[in-house]
Every structure is written in structure tokens, then in C-alpha cells.
């Protein structure tokens, strides 16, 4: 199971947080801060696994992260997930973002966090990996966006009339 997915930048500003277990808002912020603290002090050329963030808890859990330019992608997983598999999944996630946003950069995530959530929802559901095939993910995301566009068109036209 994936317990949480966090994206934050080099300064610890959260860009996306998805918790698959419930925490209060304060605890969530604390987890983000702590995770940032743990991850940010690591060198570039060390391994991408980190044991035991205290908050997300338990000796069973691991932090698996990747650092891309200005962003950290951190997955907190338990022992049922394959470490290398999750690293691959992060890669798929980032590549998918790259395709969907066309050369993704931090600004895309800052302004379109809802879209990032929608993409993520096609990959991971309730803490379990749903789809790892990038093409499939993109197809579904595109189809939904198309639907949204057709709807907004219908909607906005009367508004313009006013």
C-alpha cells in the first residue's frame, strides 16, 4: 500500500499532497515538513530510500523519493510495495506529467494542482497502484479533459449571453 504521496519543492513548499490515510490538517503539514527535512538533507548521489519518517509511522514504512530539478516526489509505502517498482512508478508519473503539460515545470504543478490530482487518480487509487501504462493513463486523462471541455462550452455560452 502507498500511504501518502507528496510533492514539494526545494524549499519545502507543498505542491501536492495526497494522503491515503486520514490525518488532521496540522498533522499533514507536520508530516510534509518532517519529510522535507529528512529528504532535503540527503546528497544527490545517495540511495532513494529512507527508513522511518516518524510521523507516517511504523518501522514497516519507507520513504521512496526522487528529486527532479526543483521538485521532490516522495512516496511513503509499506513493505508490500517493491522499492524499485515504486521508483519506476515515480518515473512514470513524472513522464506522464511531462506529456500532459508538455514540458512540465514547477509552475504547472503550482497552478494546476487539480489536474495533477486527476492524473494521479488514474495511476494510484486509494493507495493501490491502478495503472502503470503511461499510454493508458494519458488516454483516460485526455478523454476526461475532452469531456470537461465539451461541458464548459455548453456552460459558458449562456454566461456570455448575459
Amino acid at each position: 500500500m502507498i500511504k501518502a504521496i507528496l510533492i514539494f519543492n526545494n524549499h519545502g513548499k507543498p505542491r501536492l499532497s495526497k494522503f491515503y490515510e486520514h490525518y488532521s490538517e496540522d498533522t499533514e503539514q507536520q508530516i510534509i515538513r518532517e519529510t522535507f527535512h529528512l529528504v532535503s538533507k540527503r546528497d544527490e548521489n545517495v540511495c532513494n530510500f529512507l527508513e522511518g519518517g516518524m510521523l507516517i509511522g511504523g518501522s514497516e514504512n519507507k520513504l521512496i523519493y526522487r528529486h527532479y530539478a526543483t521538485l521532490y516526489f516522495v512516496f511513503c509505502v509499506d513493505s508490500s510495495e517493491s522499492e524499485l517498482g515504486i521508483l519506476d512508478l515515480i518515473q512514470v508519473f513524472v513522464e506522464t506529467l511531462d506529456k500532459c503539460f508538455e514540458n512540465v515545470c514547477e509552475l504547472d504543478l503550482i497552478f494546476h494542482v487539480d489536474k495533477v490530482h486527476n492524473i494521479l487518480a488514474e495511476m494510484v487509487m486509494g493507495g493501490m497502484v491502478l495503472e502503470t501504462n503511461m499510454n493508458e493513463i494519458i488516454t483516460q486523462v485526455d478523454a476526461q479533459n475532452k469531456m470537461e471541455k465539451s461541458e464548459t462550452f455548453i456552460f459558458q455560452s449562456p454566461r456570455q449571453d448575459r
Binding site: 494542482v113 487539480d114 486509494g126
Partner: protein, 1134 residues
């Protein structure tokens, strides 16, 4: 004009979308909080608008603010509104917000059930998808129960996109509603072979998650997984399956044997590192489970270790890390194979990556042997010196101690060396683990008798150099070792070379700056040393001056401690001070006191196993939970009452507790003294009791909680080189020399032997084996004491709150009929209305097998109403007492909790009976009436399918009166149940006069119906339908038909086909209404059911007969109404 303003403001607000909000926040870096609070105010305004677009935009912004840590739960209702928008765009926003901020205690969640159900069955797959995704994040037990069937249906959806989501979410449903696991599992299993790889992968995912927690229930799936493993090419699926096998093999060794070959093939063939790694991991798990039959598998071990070595040598830090991780698993069972890679692992200790160093440290733990322990520890000590961060250094320190002390100091051949290692470790700056070192010192000194002399000497040096340890601050974790040092020196003072000097060192004024508990030990042990000094002096009577000087020293120095703020120190110091003063007096009279003083501290201390106390078996007849003395209570009379009650139980209090208080204490004192005597005698005979006499203080030492010591950082400015302390390195050298010598000796011996034995074993001088290394000096390691008949049981410390525990369900048992569909749990009665009676016994009452027929639920009773109710109330009190008797009936209510685990024989009745309510609210009268009616209703019971025509009301009233009287006859005996039922119901709010809900209506006829569980047969539901003729014509030949669903069946007379209609047994003149009842047999009552039926009838008009037909529509919303009003009605809705 006004409209324009309104419109403008709407537009302006609407224009501030998520992007604007983010931009705004970024532009207000300095007063972000203030800006956001104005934004939230705006959002609140927007949420008040009717326009769903504005609302959803607001909700979208809230989702962002939630991520920033703002609580947005106040908008939960608005989120639900947005979720229920018909437009996908808004729906998605709503569900996203809900998934981010809803949780089990969000109360509006219960409003979402119908909306979610609607979305799940939406023709648009993305509506369904979005609902599933959202639900996966906030599913509650209620939602899981209510939606389980819908989701299960989706598992067979035509679109794989929906199927895979439905399959995944089932895991969450199982967690929240474990009863659904068994019924849903067959379908889940089918999905393992779904044509779509995504669905297949999802099913594997779910089953792996389930099996990981309760592997034994999933063993039967092994062949299926085995097939998947050999056929699948999807690495994700393979990894999951292989991981699953890792969890299954420990339970079924035969599986492991089968797995080895395909796994080895995969290891050889795959190029994916992740897969390779998981294969190796599982092979390791297999090999661990196959503890026997080793020789066949040494090749596999070698293969694993070899592959892991490749991983560890890889430049990729991730692989290195994982390689070490897997290595540590092999280590547990096959330490030898790992030990050959010691070089590699030691190399990893130098890695720049701390995670890798820590992993390597873990490995070291298992790699030590008698042979290499010193060497490895020496290396670690070097690292300790080099380590930069305190965390890593502390980790090293604990690892060193772990490694050395593991399995009862198995690998330590030279305890002198170990003591000096410990002493060296005390020089660590700012370590937090002073107490760890201290406890090791104590442990070794106590348990290894041979080492005491050496240890005492070392400790004396430590005490002498205490100032180096404590440094300039007293906030120092390491000073804990002084605790151990002082105690060892005192306790084993006979080994001290110069007790006088040590005594002096222990009484230095600086000691007063140490933490209190350490000072206390100092003071106490100073007294022990004092006795040793006295004894030493009196052996040589020539010089009594020294003894007197010692007394004087104590008398001079102890007052500092007497003034200590620490109570413990103060008490001991003043006690000992007075003792010494007294001794001094005796000394001045030349009385020999040494013996008496020594006697104070005589006796041996034995180590006691940490769990010893817990393992002492409780003597028969001793109830640990019983009061020893009754707790004090206010009023005498109350006291009296309780005493008489507990009289039998009070083992210790006996009769005294009856006396009035003053006498009580008096007697108690005497008693106490007596008991103390008895206890002492008992203890004297008990070999497991640490003898307190003659020095009861000694026991105290261990009792000081080391854990409670404040742990503080220290910075030492003085370089630590304690003069006169042996370096552990010396021992390494000594050890080597000694071994060389031993070897040489042995060779000589061997030669001799060989010569004797001829040429049999030539060239057999390979590497030393473990056994060849003899300890430097024979050490007698005292084992820890355990009580004689200690229970071997090891405590199962499983977390009782683990949600997965509930999923430990046997899935191999065939499903009983009742389980084919999801089982029902009674809908929870409204908390507010719940009566205490209902709370406890309600279920049992409901589940009584002898249910009275519910058929007598007739409007007559309802009409009769109030007078009856009054009577009832009188009855109620009586009923309260009777309830206990009633609840002794076989408590079937257990079944509710455990429906899934029911034996397959359990009939639907049983499940239904339990789930079946205390009869619905409207029937207090009904129940009582029923009890009376028993004889009359018998014919009905036998022909339950026959619809009894109702009599006219007047007639019934007469009848009622009769029954009423009848009832009184029954009320003493047979009336039990009815009374109970009555009590239960009485607690509920008074029912409306009519429970009948509109079923269908057209210009000719109106149908209202009431649904009741059949109290006589739990698997049946009685639907009473009142037909009212609304037209001016005669209605006849009414035929009622309902399409049977899987779950519910209209009971038809024997011989009728499954689709035949039932004739309504009466005709309706204009304006007249009459009631007919239809009985449905139910398979399951989990879900509210929707049935569709038709009524055909002929309206007799003067000029023609025209067949008409009324379709009975569904009233999905009515279900809600029903269930909340009559919580326990089986959820049939027509």
C-alpha cells in the same frame, strides 16, 4: 440596474479561479495568512450562491487551501452539493475535494450514499470512475455496507476501466465491512483471470494485500498464482505475485519447493532489476521456510548471495541498499554464506550514504563469530572515532553493544577485552547511551564472576577519573556509567586493591553535582566500601588508626549528601552518617565492629530474568482482580450491602472489613504484623525470591529506573585519555598471540595424534573452526533466574486494533445460500433513540426463535391505539425483569457480528432472524395482540401464502375485545415474549397512526402498503397492501404480480408458476378499501430491495369491462424514509 450589480459581482467572484488564488498567494508572500483569510471569506460568499459553477470553483480553491494546511471541513456540505452536480466537470471537483478532506467522522458522508450509488450506475464511465476514486479515499463502514453490492456489480462491468477500479476499491470495502469478503471473494478470484491486464493486475493487487495480512486463508489460491506467475509478462503483476509467495511459503513448505525452479529461471532470465530483486527475496523466504533439506538448496543460496553481491557492488546506491537489505534476510538462516562476503560489507561501512552504512551495520550483527568479533569491533571503534554526526555514532555504539552481548555473550572469548571496550566507549562525547553502557557493565560484572576483579579495578579507575566523564556540565548522558562503576566497586569491594582510595574518590565534593540517583548509589556503596575497609583493617589489628580515619572521612564528607535536595540521597546519607558515628564510638572503645558492619551487606545477588516476575504462575484460587480491601465508601449501609455481596470473594479482607473503621485499623495492624511474619517465612522458603535479609537495601539497586534518567548532551573540551587504562587494542594483540600459541600447541598435539593414527587425516589443518577458539579464561556466565514453573508461552503482542484482523476469514468454505449475496447487518438504530434495554438485549430479544406471528398487523390494532398503549406502559416494568429470562435463549445475535464465518449449514432464516428487527415501531399493540391470538392465527401460519381477507372493522373490534381478555391470561406465562417485545418498542417514539406508504395510484385505485418482517418466519416479509377504490365503479378480478428478484420471491400457492399472478381475494365496491397481504420470502436482507410489480384489474362500468393495468413504480427515496423510521424493517420496497 440592481441585477447588473449582482451579475457583475458574481462574475468578479467567479473570475477568481484557482490560478488567481495561487497567484494572489504568491503575490502576498509577506501577509499570506491575511490574504488567505480574505480569500476564505470570499469563498464563503461564493458558496452561498446558487450557481453550481461558482460553488464548484469555490470548492476547487478550498481543495488547494486544504493542501496548505487550512481546515476546510466547514464546507463539507457544499462539497457534497458539488459532488451531486450532474456535470462531470463539477462532479470531479467535488469528489476530489471530498477525497482530500472527508474522513470517517465527517457527518455529511451519510448524505452521499444515494448520490454515490447514482454515480456508480451512471451510463458515463467517467462519472463512475470519479465516484470510485473518491470513494476509495473516504469510504466508511456505512458506505461500504450500503454500496458493497453496487460495487460488486461493477466488478463485472463491460468496461475494463471501471472493472479495475471496482476491483481495487473492494479492498477498502473489505477493510471497512469484513462481512462482504466471503460473498465477494469468488468474483474477486474470477478477476484474476480477467482478459484485461489492468483488471488482472488490480485483482492480484487486492488479493496480495489481503493475503499479506492473513496468508493462511489464501493458500488455496497458490496454484492459480503459480499459473499466473509462469504465464504473466507484466512485471508489476509478477512482482506482486512473487511477493505474495514470499508470504505464503512459510505456511506451506511444499509450495516453496515448487517455487524454487521457476524463480531461479526468472532470476537468470529477467533484465528488470526490480523483478530480480523480488525473486531473490522470495527465494530467500522459501529457503528460510525449508530449514531442512539444506544440501539440495545450497546452489540456490549461492545464486542468491552471488546476485546480491552484484547488486551491492553496483554503483547504483539503490541497488546497493537493497542488496544489503536482502542479505540481512539470508543472514538469519544461512550466516555462513553471508560471512564469506564480510569484506564487501565492511567496505560498505565506509560508504558515504548513511542508509547504506546502517544496513551494513545490521548485517555485521549476524556476521560475528568468536573468531572475528574483536576484529570487527575494532573496526567499528575506528568508525566511532571518525563518525561525524551523533546519531550515527550513537547507532554505532548501540550496535557494538548489541553485537557483543548477543545471545548471552556467546561470541565473547575475553571479557577483559569487553570491559575495556565499554570503558573506551565511555569517552564518547555527548552520547545518549550512557545507561546502555552502564547496564552492560553491571550485567557483565554480575554474571561473569571471573571478571569481577578486573572489572572492579577498571571501575575504580573510572571513579577516580570521574571528572573527565562529567566534564564541565552535569547534563551528561555518559555520567550514567558512574552509577554502574560505583555500584560495582561497592558490591564487589573485596576485589579492590585500595578500597580506601576508591572510598575517597566516591566522597569527593564534586560528586554532589551528579544526578540524584547516582549520588544515592554513591552514598550507599560508600557504606559498603567502608565495611570492607573495616574488615581489612581488623584483619591486621596492629593499626586501628586507619579504620578510625576512614570513619572520620565518612563523617566529614557525608553531611554534604545529607543536605542534598534529592530525598533518596538525603535519606541514605543521614542513615549511614548516624551508623558511622555509632561505629566510631564503638571503635573508640576498641570494640570489634567489622563483622557486624559487613553483615549489613552480606549475601549474593543473582540476576533475575526480565520476564521472571511475569512468569510466576498465579497460584490456584488467587484472584488478582479481587479487592484486597474494599475501597473506602461513604455510607455505612452501602458498605454493609457490598460486603455481604463480596463476602465470598474477599480472600484477604475476611471479616475485618465488617468492623467499623477505628477497629478496623487496629485489627489491621496486628494482622499486618502477623502476615508480614507469614510472608517472610514464605519468602525464606521460596528460592525465587531475592532474599532481602540481611541487607535489604541491596535489592533496591536494580530498582532504580535507568530509563528515567534525564538524557542530556555534553560537550567535552578535554581530550579524553584516561591515564592508566588499558586499551582494548592490547587485547586484540594478546588474543592473536594466544591463538597463535594455541594453534601451535594444537598442531603439536595433532601431530602426535596423527602419528598415532597413521596417515588417515593428513593436511587437515584448514581454517580454524569455531570450537577451536577457547576463551582466554573460563567464564562462568550466570544465567538469569526464572521461576520454576514459568509458563513458556511467549506473549503475542499483536495489535488488537489491527483492522486486518477482521479480515481473517476462511475463504475456502463453500458459501452458504445465505451468503451468496452480501449479508445484512441490521441498520443501526438511531443513536438518539436507542434505549438502554435495546442496547443490551434488544438483539437477543429479536432473535428469539419463538417469534410470534407478525401477521396480525392489522389496521384494527392501529386504530385501537391509545388505550392499549397505556396498558402497555404498565406492562413495561414487568417486562424489564422478564427480559433477563428471555435473553437466556440461545443468543443468535452473535451471528450478526460474524455472519461470514457462519457454518455453511446456517439457513437464511438464521441470518434473517438476527438481522430482523425488534418488530417495527408500529406494533406494540400488534405484538401483544398477537400473543393472545396464537390459537386463532394458526391456520394462517400453515398457509402463509394464502392471502387472508380482512374482515370489516367493526367485527374486528369485537374480536379484539375478546383477545384483549385473552391476553391477560397469557401475560404471566406465555406472554413473556410479547411483553419483552413491547418493552423494546415502547422506547421508540410513538409510531404514526399509519405506517402505510403510498405505493401506486391512478384514477381508479389507490394502493398503500406497509412492510413488516414476519416474526414467525424470519426469512419472510409480509407486505400488507390496502386497495382503495377511488372510482365510481366496481373493481374486480384484481391480480397482483411482482417480478421475482434473485433475492426476494413472492410466495405463490403451490402449483403456480413463478410468473403467475396472485388473485386479490376480494372485489372493491366504489369508495371501499380493503387489505390484502402478500408474503415474500427473502434470501438476504443486506440491501434495500426494489421490486417491480403490476396490478391488473377490471373496472366494471355499466357499458363495458375494460382491463386496466397500473404499474407500480419504484420509490427509491422511500427506502430511506422507511429505514430511518423503522430501522429494522427488511428493506423491501415495492
Amino acid at each position: 440596474m440592481a441585477l447588473k450589480i449582482v451579475k457583475g459581482s458574481i462574475d468578479r467572484m467567479f473570475d477568481k479561479n484557482l490560478q488567481d488564488l495561487v497567484r494572489g498567494i504568491r503575490n502576498h508572500k509577506e501577509d499570506e495568512a491575511k490574504y488567505i483569510s480574505t480569500c476564505i471569506d470570499e469563498i464563503k460568499q461564493e458558496l452561498k450562491q446558487d450557481n453550481i459553477a461558482v460553488k464548484s470553483n469555490a470548492v476547487c480553491k478550498l481543495t488547494y487551501l486544504q493542501m496548505l494546511g487550512y481546515d476546510v471541513s466547514w464546507a463539507a456540505f457544499n462539497i457534497v452539493e458539488v459532488m451531486s452536480s450532474s456535470k462531470f466537470t463539477y462532479k470531479r471537483i467535488g469528489y476530489l475535494a471530498a477525497s482530500q478532506c472527508f474522513h470517517e467522522s465527517t457527518d455529511v458522508i451519510m448524505l452521499t450514499t444515494n448520490q454515490i450509488r447514482k454515480d456508480l450506475s451512471s451510463p458515463n464511465q467517467y462519472d463512475t470512475g470519479v465516484a470510485l476514486t473518491g470513494l476509495s479515499c473516504f469510504v466508511t463502514p456505512d458506505l461500504a455496507r450500503d454500496l458493497a453490492n453496487d460495487i460488486m456489480t461493477l466488478m463485472s462491468h463491460t468496461k475494463p476501466y471501471i472493472r479495475k477500479k471496482a476491483v481495487l476499491i473492494m479492498y477498502k470495502v473489505f477493510l471497512k465491512y469484513p462481512e462482504s469478503l466471503r460473498p465477494a471473494f469468488p468474483r474477486m478470484k474470477e478477476k484474476l483471470e480477467d482478459p484485461d491486464p489492468g483488471v488482472q493486475s488490480a485483482a492480484v493487487n487486492v488479493i496480495c494485500e489481503l493475503a499479506r495480512r492473513n496468508p493462511k486463508n489464501y493458500l488455496s489460491l497458490a496454484p492459480l498464482f503459480f499459473k499466473l506467475m509462469t504465464s504473466s509478462t507484466n512485471n508489476w503483476v509478477l512482482i506482486k505475485i512473487i511477493k505474495l509467495f514470499g508470504a505464503l511459503t512459510p505456511l506451506e513448505p511444499r509450495l516453496g519447493k515448487k517455487l524454487i525452479e521457476p524463480l531461479t529461471n526468472l532470476i537468470h532470465s529477467t533484465s528488470a532489476m526490480s523483478l530480480l530483486y523480488e525473486c531473490v527475496n522470495t527465494v530467500i523466504a522459501v529457503l528460510i521456510s525449508l530449514s531442512s533439506g539444506m544440501p539440495n538448496h545450497s546452489a540456490s543460496i549461492q545464486l542468491c548471495v552471488q546476485k546480491l553481491r552484484i547488486l551491492i557492488e553496483d554503483s547504483d546506491q539503490n541497488l546497493k541498499y537493497l542488496g544489503l537489505l536482502a542479505m540481512s534476510k539470508i543472514l538469519k538462516t544461512h550466516p555462513k554464506s553471508v560471512q564469506s562476503h564480510k569484506d564487501l560489507i565492511l567496505q560498505c561501512l565506509d560508504d558515504k550514504d548513511e542508509s547504506i552504512r546502517l544496513r551494513a551495520l545490521d548485517l555485521l550483527y549476524g556476521m560475528v563469530s568468536k573468531k572475528n568479533l574483536m576484529e570487527i569491533v575494532k573496526k567499528l571503534m575506528l568508525h566511532v572515532d571518525k563518525a561525524e554526526g551523533t546519531t550515527y555514532r550513537d547507532e554505532l555504539l548501540t550496535k557494538i553493544i548489541d553485537i557483543c552481548s548477543q545471545s548471552n555473550y556467546q561470541y565473547i572469548t575475553n571479557f577483559e577485552w569487553y570491559i575495556s571496550i565499554l570503558v573506551e566507549l565511555t569517552r564518547l562525547e555527548g552520547t545518549r547511551h550512557g545507561h546502555l553502557i552502564a547496564s552492560q557493565m553491571l550485567d557483565v560484572a554480575i554474571r561473569v564472576k571471573a571478571i569481577r576483579a578486573f572489572a572492579v579495578a577498571q571501575m575504580a579507575t573510572l571513579l577516580d577519573n570521574a571528572h573527565l566523564l562529567t566534564g564541565n556540565t552535569q547534563h551528561n548522558g555518559i555520567c550514567e556509567v558512574l552509577y554502574a562503576a560505583a555500584w560495582i566497586c561497592g558490591e564487589f569491594s573485596e576485589h579492590l586493591e585500595d578500597p580506601m582510595a576508591t572510598l575517597e574518590a566516591m566522597l569527593r565534593p564534586k560528586v554532589a553535582t551528579l544526578p540524584g540517583h547516582i549520588q544515592a548509589v554513591y552514598v550507599q556503596n560508600a557504606a559498603k566500601l567502608f565495611s570492607t575497609v573495616l574488615r581489612g583493617q581488623e584483619g591486621a589489628p596492629a593499626d586501628s588508626k586507619v579504620a578510625q580515619e576512614t570513619s572520620q572521612l565518612l563523617i566529614d564528607r557525608l553531611p554534604v549528601f545529607v543536605q542534598s535536595a534529592n530525598l533518596e540521597v538525603q535519606e541514605r546519607a543521614s542513615c549511614i552518617l548516624q551508623l558511622v558515628k555509632y561505629i566510631q564510638k564503638l571503635q573508640q572503645k576498641d570494640v570489634e565492629v567489622a563483622e557486624e558492619v559487613t553483615a549489613l551487606f552480606a549475601g549474593e545477588l543473582n540476576p533475575v530474568a526480565p520476564k521472571a516476575q511475569k512468569k510466576v504462575p498465579v497460584p490456584e484460587g488467587l484472584d488478582l482482580d479481587a479487592w484486597i480491601n474494599e475501597p473506602p465508601s461513604g455510607s455505612e449501609s452501602e458498605d454493609e450491602g457490598r460486603k455481604t455481596k463480596t463476602k465470598g470473594k474477599a480472600v484477604f479482607a475476611k471479616e475485618e472489613s465488617r468492623h467499623t473503621k477505628p477497629r478496623y485499623t487496629e485489627v489491621d495492624e496486628k494482622e499486618l504484623a502477623k502476615r508480614r511474619e507469614v510472608r517472610k517465612a514464605e519468602q525464606a522458603n521460596n528460592p525465587f525470591y531475592i532474599k532481602a535479609s540481611p541487607s535489604s537495601q541491596k535489592v533496591y539497586q536494580e530498582a532504580v529506573g535507568v530509563e528515567h534518567i534525564p538524557v542530556v548532551q555534553i560537550d567535552l573540551s578535554v581530550p579524553l585519555k584516561v591515564p592508566g587504562m588499558p586499551m582494548s587494542d592490547q587485547y586484540v594483540k594478546q588474543e592473536e598471540e594466544r591463538r597463535e600459541k594455541n594453534k601451535a600447541d594444537r598442531k603439536k598435539k595433532d601431530k602426535k595424534k596423527r602419528r598415532e593414527k597413521g596417515r588417515q587425516r593428513r593436511g587437515d589443518s584448514g581454517p580454524e573452526s569455531e570450537e577451536d577458539i577457547t576463551p582466554a579464561h573460563m567464564v562462568d556466565i550466570v544465567t538469569e533466574e526464572m521461576p520454576e514453573n514459568a509458563l513458556p508461552s511467549d506473549d503475542d503482542d499483536k495489535d488488537p486494533n489491527d483492522p486486518h484482523k477482521a479480515l481473517n476469514i476462511d475463504l475456502d468454505k463453500p458459501l452458504a445460500d445465505s451468503e451468496k449475496k452480501l449479508p445484512v447487518r441490521t441498520h443501526r438504530p438511531d443513536e438518539g433513540l436507542k434505549s438502554p434495554v435495546e442496547d443490551g438485549e434488544g438483539l437477543e430479544v429479536a432473535s428469539e426463535p419463538k417469534k410470534k406471528s407478525g401477521k396480525e398487523k392489522k389496521d384494527k390494532e392501529r386504530k385501537k391505539g391509545k388505550e392499549k398503549k397505556k396498558k402497555k406502559k404498565h406492562k413495561q416494568e414487568e417486562g424489564d425483569n422478564l427480559i433477563e429470562a428471555g435473553s437466556e435463549e440461545p443468543a443468535q445475535s452473535e451471528v450478526t457480528n460474524d455472519v461470514a464465518a457462519q457454518p455453511p449449514t446456517s439457513t437464511p432464516e438464521e441470518a434473517a432472524a438476527v438481522a430482523d428487527p425488534p418488530p417495527p415501531a408500529s406494533s406494540p399493540e400488534a405484538a401483544s395482540g398477537v400473543a393472545a391470538v396464537v390459537p386463532d392465527s394458526e391456520p394462517e401460519e400453515t398457509k402463509s401464502s394464502k392471502h387472508k381477507k380482512k374482515k370489516q372493522k367493526k367485527e374486528e373490534k369485537d374480536k379484539k375485545k375478546k383477545k384483549h381478555q385473552h391476553h391477560h391470561h397469557h401475560s404471566d406465562g406465555a406472554g413473556d415474549e410479547s411483553v419483552q417485545n413491547g418493552t423494546v418498542e415502547e422506547e421508540e417514539p410513538l409510531p404514526p397512526m399509519s405506517n402505510y406508504a403510498l405505493l401506486a395510484e391512478n384514477s381508479y385505485i389507490k394502493m398503500v402498503c406497509d412492510i413488516q418482517g414476519n416474526l414467525h418466519d424470519g426469512s419472510q416479509v409480509v407486505v400488507s397492501v390496502i386497495f382503495e377504490n377511488k372510482c365510481d365503479s366496481f373493481i374486480k378480478s384484481m391480480e397482483f404480480n411482482v417480478m421475482d428478484s434473485l433475492n426476494s420471491k413472492l410466495q405463490r400457492p403451490e402449483g403456480a408458476g413463478p410468473h403467475d399472478s396472485l388473485t386479490v381475494p376480494f372485489q372493491l365496491p366504489p369508495g371501499i378499501s380493503n387489505e390484502a397481504r402478500f408474503i415474500f420470502s427473502m434470501q438476504s436482507i443486506v440491501m434495500p430491495q426494489k421490486l417491480k410489480g403490476t396490478l391488473t384489474f377490471i373496472v366494471k362500468v355499466s357499458w363495458s369491462c375494460s382491463p386496466q393495468s397500473t404499474h407500480i413504480p419504484h420509490y427509491p427515496n422511500q427506502i430511506e424514509v422507511y429505514l430511518s423510521r423503522v430501522p429494522n424493517t427488511t428493506g423491501v420496497d415495492l
